[in-house]
Structure formats: structure tokens, C-alpha cells
């Protein structure tokens, strides 16, 4: 046993941290972990080793079992078999508190926050500082501020979590994980809602922690990030351990090959759609309640894929939600085929041929306790009504169409959607909207938190839809995918339209740079 003793101020708390490791310097060894869910073997001899001060990327397609493996470590799930050694001693955490007490902290893929409470209460939840038996709000405030200063996060600890943007909430959650002074930190897709600059910020934090001897397990789908930040990469497929390699010896293509078990020549399917006549015109659209879009004007052609780019907080989501009518508009007009339309609410928008795929899948898109059938048909119940009742036969047929045409991997139509992987959930929801036969699809981060293989399928799907003459507006934070599949890219900056790029005409090589410049136009 080697003891690495670090003394001094460990972030804000003065204490001695002893990190014990075995001879081969392993902080954590997970061996032959197995976990069975109803109908699915989620983990099958999965393994992971983590060294002191190491950033270890855990990769695999959605449903490969990455999150499940981490939840077994963290005590959210109880593993069926296998052993976990931490600092050379066998551990078996039965609940998150147990894991936290032993120095394992985790940022979960889905943000677990109490929305109606403020940042500092969320941060110190489960470990409130006490003074004479009462919660010491002053200390809580000061400590939060100290951590924020250390991590260079500019948020007010007293802000209510529910009023923050997704990326701000993400940063607050990361700061919370840091506040545990853990020896092992698990980050489950922390960058999926962060813009490039914020990702850099996170990486700085991660390096800072590693230098202090913390071992970080990092789950992400963004290859370039992984290769840049991590020391080691472990790849999983179908719940099994596939390989663990040094990051320096790997290339993006190799990772993809290991992940999918086949070559993926191209990340994007070939573009085959040809935009036609102008279908929708948006003129001077301004929303009613801030933050919202301001004076936005653009048009959308038939069979076109229009990307919307911009920094996080540039109100891309607000723009499409205002078009869809779930956010109130103050002024401006939307014309479809030259006809003025008023999407006062989502029902009217659906009748007008719009469909909206929301950004936060779990909060605003899923009915987790309901089956695939319900989730696939919920936006389209009207068309199943027969003599005043819903026809299960028709709903079954449509659900089958969704499962088949979207290639959804599920044991049955009755399976609760919460048991599916993120990518498969997303496919069901896209299918849900296609059943309403929309002319204009508004997709908000359609590939967020989805693995490479499923991403490709979703790109193909989007292009197929455009080929059929449907128009797609797609909001995304990933520039390569916008450049890869869009015809034009609208760049938003601080609520305004900063410019529209024609990918087919403009030089591809400079597209990314142009977008960056436009993004900062009104900041």
C-alpha cells in the first residue's frame, strides 16, 4: 500500500486527505460487475480501473451500460454480481449517502436538482453546515461563494435553481460535486448542454482536481473532448467491457470502431435533399416575456434543413418555442405558404402542421411511467378516435410503424419508456411527432446525449424527412453536425438573428469561423 498524503487547503476546507492505493496505484477497481433489469442484461462482466489523479473516459453507445455501471458504484443500483475495490478495500455502497461518505461524488446525466430552492441549498443538501444545531446560512453562503471563486463560476448562491439556464444549472451541479471533496468524481455527460467556452472551463476545473489527486471518471459522447482531456479510455458495448487504452494511442475512428464494433466511415449521411419554394416566413418576431427572441426574421424552404446555432443563452430555444406558440409572442408575424398564421398554443401549432421536439427530454418530452405506445401516440390521439373511443388497433399499428421505421430497440410496445436508452427514447419522440404528419419540424438539440451510431440514424432520418419535402429547423450546440447536415445555418446572438449562412454556397472551411464571429455580434 502506498499512501499519498496531501495536506493544506483542499479547496475551501482545511483537512488532510489521505488517498490509499494498491501496489499498481489503483484508486478504484470494478471487476465483473453484473446487473439485470427486467428483460435486459444491462451489465455483463463490466469492469473499470481508475488511478489516482487520472481522468478516465468511459465510452460506449447509448444503452452500453455506462450510466448503469456508475450507478452501481454510487449505490443508486445494487449490483447483482462482481466486486468493487476502493483503495484496496472491498466496498459495496447501498445508497448514495454511503458512497458520498466514502468519497465518491457523481454528477448525474439528468440534472437532479430541487428547482424551487436556491443554489446554495442545493449545493449543501445532505450536508448542511450547522451552528448550534441550526443550519448556518451565512457559512453556507460564504462556502458556496468560495467554491465558485475557486472554480471561477459567476453565479449568485442565492439564485433559485429553476430560474437558471440549463448550462448554469450544469455548472452549479459540477460545483456541488466538487464541494464533497471526493476522491473519486464521476461526471456523466457533463458537457451535453455546455457551449465550447464552458467546456473549456469545466476542463480547467477537472485538471485542477486531478492535480490534487482526485480520480475522475468522465462519460461523454464528444470524441474530440475525450481525446483531449482524458488519460485513459475504457470502451463498453452491450454492457460488456471491450477495451481500456491510453488516450494518446487512440484516434476517433478507432474509438468509434470499438464502440459500434464496425467501421463508421462517415459521421454524416450524404445530403440528398434539395430545398424548394419558401414555405414559412418569419417577420420581426419578438417574444413577450424576457428572455426571448427579438425582432427575428427569416424564411424556411420546403425540403430544407435549417440549422440554428449560437452560444448557450442566445435564446435559440426561445425562438422556436415562440414560433410554436408555447411562449407568448409580443409582435411580429409568421406566414406559412403566404398565409398569416397565429400559433397561440401548441394545439393550434400542431393543426398548422408544426411539430416541436423539446430540449429537455425527461422534463418536457417523456411520460416515463407509460409504455412506448402511449409515448408514441400521445400527440396524435385525435386520429385514433372511433365512435368516441380510441382504437387500440390503430394505435398499435402506428406504434409498430414508429418502432420499425425509427429502428427503436425495445422488448415490446408495452415496455415503459424509462427502460429504454436515451437514443431510443429520442427516436420514439421523433416518431411521435411524425405521426401528426407535420410540414415543419422544430427540433431542439435532437442528438443531445445520444451516441454516435444513434446520431447517424437521426441525421439520416432528418435528411429523409427533408427529401420527402418536409422542412426542418434544428437547434444544435454541435457545430460539426449543423455544418454536416444543414442547408443553411441561422446564427443567433443575444436573442437576435446575427446572420444566415448558406452552407452550399459559402466556403465550408470557413463556416465554423463565420458562425463563431456571428455568435458574438450582439453580445
Amino acid at each position: 500500500m502506498n499512501d499519498i498524503v496531501r495536506q493544506g487547503t483542499f479547496f475551501h476546507v482545511k483537512r488532510k486527505v489521505v488517498i490509499r492505493t494498491t501496489e499498481n496505484n489503483y484508486l478504484l477497481e470494478m471487476v465483473d460487475i453484473e446487473k439485470q433489469f427486467p428483460g435486459v442484461k444491462a451489465l455483463d462482466h463490466a469492469r473499470l480501473d481508475l488511478q489516482v489523479g487520472e481522468i478516465h473516459a468511459l465510452m460506449g453507445e447509448n444503452g452500453a451500460g455506462k450510466s448503469t455501471l456508475m450507478k452501481c458504484l454510487f449505490g443508486v443500483y445494487n449490483k447483482d454480481a462482481g466486486t468493487i475495490h476502493m483503495e484496496g478495500e472491498e466496498v459495496n455502497f447501498t445508497n448514495p449517502k454511503h458512497a458520498l461518505d466514502h468519497g465518491v461524488a457523481m454528477v448525474h446525466q439528468e440534472l437532479n436538482q430541487v428547482l424551487r430552492r436556491n443554489i446554495m441549498e442545493n449545493m449543501w443538501l445532505g450536508k448542511f453546515p450547522l451552528k448550534n444545531g441550526l443550519v448556518d446560512s451565512k457559512k453556507m453562503y460564504a462556502d458556496t461563494l468560495k467554491i465558485f471563486q475557486n472554480l471561477d463560476i459567476k453565479l449568485n448562491p442565492k439564485d433559485i435553481i429553476g430560474n437558471l439556464s440549463v448550462s448554469q444549472r450544469q455548472m452549479a451541479e459540477i460545483a456541488k460535486a466538487v464541494s464533497y471533496n471526493a476522491k473519486i468524481l464521476v461526471l456523466d455527460e457533463p458537457t451535453s448542454s455546455l457551449a465550447d467556452e464552458e467546456v473549456e472551463h469545466l476542463f480547467r476545473i477537472m485538471r485542477q482536481l486531478c492535480a490534487k489527486g482526485v480520480g475522475i471518471i468522465y462519460i461523454s459522447h464528444r470524441m474530440d473532448e475525450i481525446l483531449r482531456i482524458s488519460n485513459k479510455v475504457t470502451i463498453m458495448r452491450d454492457g460488456k467491457w471491450i477495451a481500456t487504452r491510453d488516450a494518446s494511442t487512440l484516434s476517433t475512428n478507432e474509438i468509434v470502431k470499438l464502440m459500434v464494433g464496425r467501421d463508421l466511415d462517415n459521421r454524416f449521411p450524404p445530403k440528398t435533399n434539395t430545398p424548394g419554394e419558401v414555405l414559412m416566413e418569419v417577420k420581426n418576431l419578438t417574444g413577450k416575456y424576457m428572455p426571448t427572441c427579438i425582432d427575428a426574421s427569416f424564411d424556411l424552404r420546403e425540403g430544407e434543413v435549417l440549422g440554428i446555432s449560437g452560444l448557450v443563452g442566445s435564446r435559440r430555444t426561445e425562438l422556436i418555442q415562440t414560433i410554436f406558440g408555447i411562449m407568448k409572442k409580443e409582435s411580429g408575424e409568421v406566414y406559412v405558404k403566404g398565409k398569416l398564421i397565429h400559433n397561440k398554443d401548441s394545439r393550434i401549432a400542431i393543426n398548422n402542421g408544426f411539430a416541436l421536439l423539446t430540449e429537455e427530454r425527461r422534463a418536457t418530452g417523456l411520460f416515463p411511467e407509460m409504455g412506448i405506445t402511449f409515448n408514441a401516440t400521445v400527440a396524435n390521439f385525435r386520429s385514433y378516435v372511433k365512435w368516441g373511443l380510441l382504437s387500440s388497433r390503430k394505435m398499435g399499428t402506428d406504434t409498430k410503424w414508429v418502432i420499425d421505421s425509427m429502428n427503436v430497440k425495445t422488448p415490446s410496445q408495452k415496455t415503459h419508456i424509462k427502460y429504454l436508452s436515451g437514443g431510443n427514447q429520442q427516436k420514439v419522440i421523433i416518431g411521435r411527432w411524425l405521426l401528426t404528419k407535420p410540414k415543419i419540424l422544430l427540433l431542439d438539440e435532437p442528438t443531445r446525449g445520444i451516441d454516435v451510431g444513434a446520431k447517424f440514424e437521426i441525421y439520416q432520418l432528418i435528411l429523409n424527412l427533408a427529401n420527402e419535402g418536409k422542412s426542418v429547423i434544428m437547434v444544435s450546440s454541435e457545430m460539426p453536425e449543423l455544418i454536416g447536415i444543414c442547408d443553411r445555418i441561422l446564427v443567433m446572438s443575444n436573442g437576435r438573428v446575427a446572420g444566415i449562412l448558406d452552407i452550399n454556397k459559402d466556403d465550408n472551411g470557413n463556416a465554423q469561423e463565420t458562425i463563431m464571429h456571428l455568435s458574438a455580434k450582439f453580445v
Binding site: P96, Q113, R116, G126, V135, Y289, M290, M327
Partner: protein, 347 residues
């Protein structure tokens, strides 16, 4: 430029409407009282104010207990029956020792009042803790488990009350003077006689305010009610939190039962009937959201007082009794629908 100015004006307008929404309950209370005073100027007297506060006090203590369960996204249907049982047991112990047909003829010397108080609290806490166990461990919805315990508590109350040597089912009455004095006694404050019970209510509110805002249990309660999963992954012991909140509710019910017995001075099997509805109404009027995780103690106090002020003023104005129900129903719906506005996301 014009746009910027227009934006600013709108912002101010929003601020005003936000202000109105945040203090909607207080405006409602004000408007009701103004209307009553316009109709009957004599209503505006210190005696009436004190009467309203006095009547609100025992209900307020019950509402303070029940509110925590609503913050946990639960409810309590057993409150009234728990109170009935605790009050019956209290009453049986504090009957005057000179009263011939007392429940316990073997009590010949007055019992120290702390004993019935502790027994009352013990009974209420035991049942409420069982409710908590049902919610936290058996994973029952609070509606179901409290529905069950309300029946159980009622059954026990009936058996207990009807088990009297002298005639069955007789209301327990003729209490020791010291006991009734606990509630009905008054403090002379600058010429105004204020009943003790009002002080109890304010003390209980203060203690509850501290528990909700300054203790780990209180903060965890909001976390569990607002997002149980988030609380669990943050290392909060959810079971312990739920149990703690139910136990505190039980203590409040026990105190409430003790005081209510002293206030009404006669306890029968129907004592406490439908009290839970008053307590729950007061909580929701006071801004405790049924979706969980939201609420504060001053809100509950205002809720209780609004409800009692309405009751009292309708009675005072001699409004038809059936019409009173209708008016109260409308006011509850109106108050809550205005209050929930502030939590709706503006889109």
C-alpha cells in the same frame, strides 16, 4: 431606441403585477375585511379581532403540523380523528375530581396537567409516525395511509369513549378549572384581555418557522418534497426526513388536541370531525403547494386567519348558513388560483 423605452415600461408593469401576485393573499384578506367593515362598521372592534385570532389559534397549530406533510407532496386525512382520540383521552383524565360520573373514578386528586398533555402528544405522535412509516417505508400514498389511520383512530375513539361506567357514549365534560383556564385564561396587556391560546399559536408558529428555515430537517423536507430523487442522490436520508416531518406533525396534533379539549370543554366521539379539511384549506390558502416543495410559515398563519376571518364575519353578518358554505368554497378556489399564478412559468 423606441423599442428600448417600450421594453422598460413593460418591465415596470411586470414588476407591479409580480408584486400583486406575491402578496395576493394579503390583499384578499384586506379586501374581505374592508367589505365586511363597509357593510357593518361595528365589526371593526378589538373584541372581534381577538375572537378571530382565538378561534384561529387551535386550528392554526393543527395546520402548522399538517403543512409539513403537504410540503412533502402528501396530505393528512387522519388529522381530525387523531385529534378526536387524543382529546378524548385528555378529557377523561382532566375531569373534575368532584364530578361523580367521571371516566376514571379512581382519580381522586387532580392530576398535574403535564401528564394529559404528554399522553395526548404521545398518542397523536404514535399514529402520525405510523402514517410516516406507511409513506416512507411501505411506499403508500399519504392519502391512502391517512385514510386508513383515520378510520382506525375513529374506531379506537368510539371504543374508548363508550367504555364508561356511567352510561355509554356520553360526552366527556365537567373539566378541572385549571385545565380550561389554560386556553381560556387571559393576559391583561395594556387593558386588552388576550387569551393564552393566541400566545400558544404564535409560539408554535415561531418554533415551526425555525424548524422549516433553520434546521437540516426543514431544509431536507423542502428538498424531498421538491425533488425526492435529487435529495436521495445528494445523500439525504429520505426515510428519516419523512418520519421526522410526520412526528413533528403528530406533536402539533397532540398539543392541538389538548388545547381543543380545553377550548370546547366537552369531548365526544364527533370531536375533531372534518378538522383536517379546515387545516388543509388553511394551508392551501396560505400558499402551500399540493405539488410539494413550496410554502412558508407566515403563509400558513395568514391562511388560517383568512379562513377564520371569513367564518367569523359571515357569522357576524348573519349570512344564511348554507350560503356561508358556498361563499367559503368560492373563496378557497379563488385564493388558491390567484396564489398559484406566481409559480406558473411565464412563457
Amino acid at each position: 431606441m423606441e423599442k428600448a423605452i417600450a421594453g422598460k415600461v413593460k418591465f415596470d408593469k411586470r414588476k407591479i403585477s409580480e408584486f400583486l401576485l406575491n402578496y395576493a393573499l394579503y390583499f384578499i384578506l384586506g379586501i374581505i375585511l374592508i367589505v365586511v367593515v363597509i357593510i357593518e362598521p361595528k365589526f371593526l372592534s378589538l373584541t372581534n379581532l381577538i375572537n378571530i385570532l382565538k378561534q384561529a389559534s387551535t386550528k392554526g397549530i393543527l395546520a402548522l403540523g399538517c403543512a409539513g406533510l403537504i410540503v412533502l407532496a402528501g396530505t393528512d386525512l387522519s388529522l381530525g380523528r387523531i385529534l378526536g382520540l387524543s382529546a378524548a383521552v385528555t378529557a377523561s383524565i382532566v375531569q373534575s375530581v368532584t364530578y361523580a360520573s367521571r371516566y376514571y373514578p379512581q382519580i381522586t386528586k387532580p392530576v398535574p396537567l403535564i401528564i394529559p398533555l404528554l399522553i395526548s402528544i404521545a398518542i397523536a405522535t404514535a399514529i402520525s409516525a405510523f402514517n410516516g412509516f406507511g409513506v416512507a417505508k411501505l411506499h403508500l400514498h399519504a392519502f391512502i395511509v391517512t385514510l386508513g389511520t383515520s378510520l382506525i383512530a375513529y374506531g379506537i375513539t368510539c371504543i374508548y369513549v363508550e367504555n364508561q361506567a356511567m352510561g355509554s357514549a356520553m360526552a366527556l365534560s365537567t373539566f378541572d378549572m385549571r385545565f380550561t383556564n389554560i386556553v381560556n385564561g387571559t393576559v391583561n396587556l395594556m387593558g386588552v384581555r388576550i387569551p393564552y391560546v393566541i400566545f400558544y399559536f404564535f409560539i408554535a408558529s415561531f418554533v415551526m418557522y425555525i424548524i422549516w428555515n433553520k434546521t437540516t430537517l426543514g431544509k431536507n423536507m423542502f428538498a424531498v418534497g421538491g425533488n425526492e430523487e435529487a435529495a436521495a442522490v445528494s445523500g439525504v436520508n429520505v426515510t428519516k426526513t419523512i418520519m421526522g416531518v410526520y412526528i413533528i406533525a403528530g406533536i402539533m396534533y397532540g398539543i392541538g388536541a389538548f388545547l381543543e379539549a380545553a377550548r370546547v370543554q366537552s369531548v365526544s366521539t364527533s370531536t375533531g370531525f372534518n378538522y383536517e379539511l379546515d387545516a388543509i384549506s388553511a394551508c392551501v390558502i396560505g400558499g402551500i403547494s399540493f405539488s410539494g416543495g413550496v410554502g412558508n410559515v407566515p403563509g400558513i398563519m395568514v391562511g388560517v386567519i383568512i379562513l377564520q376571518a371569513i367564518n367569523y364575519s359571515l357569522y357576524y353578518l348573519d349570512v344564511n348558513a348554507y350560503l356561508q358554505f358556498i361563499i367559503k368554497g368560492v373563496i378557497i378556489i379563488l385564493a388558491v388560483s390567484i396564489d398559484v399564478r406566481k409559480y406558473l412559468n411565464k412563457k
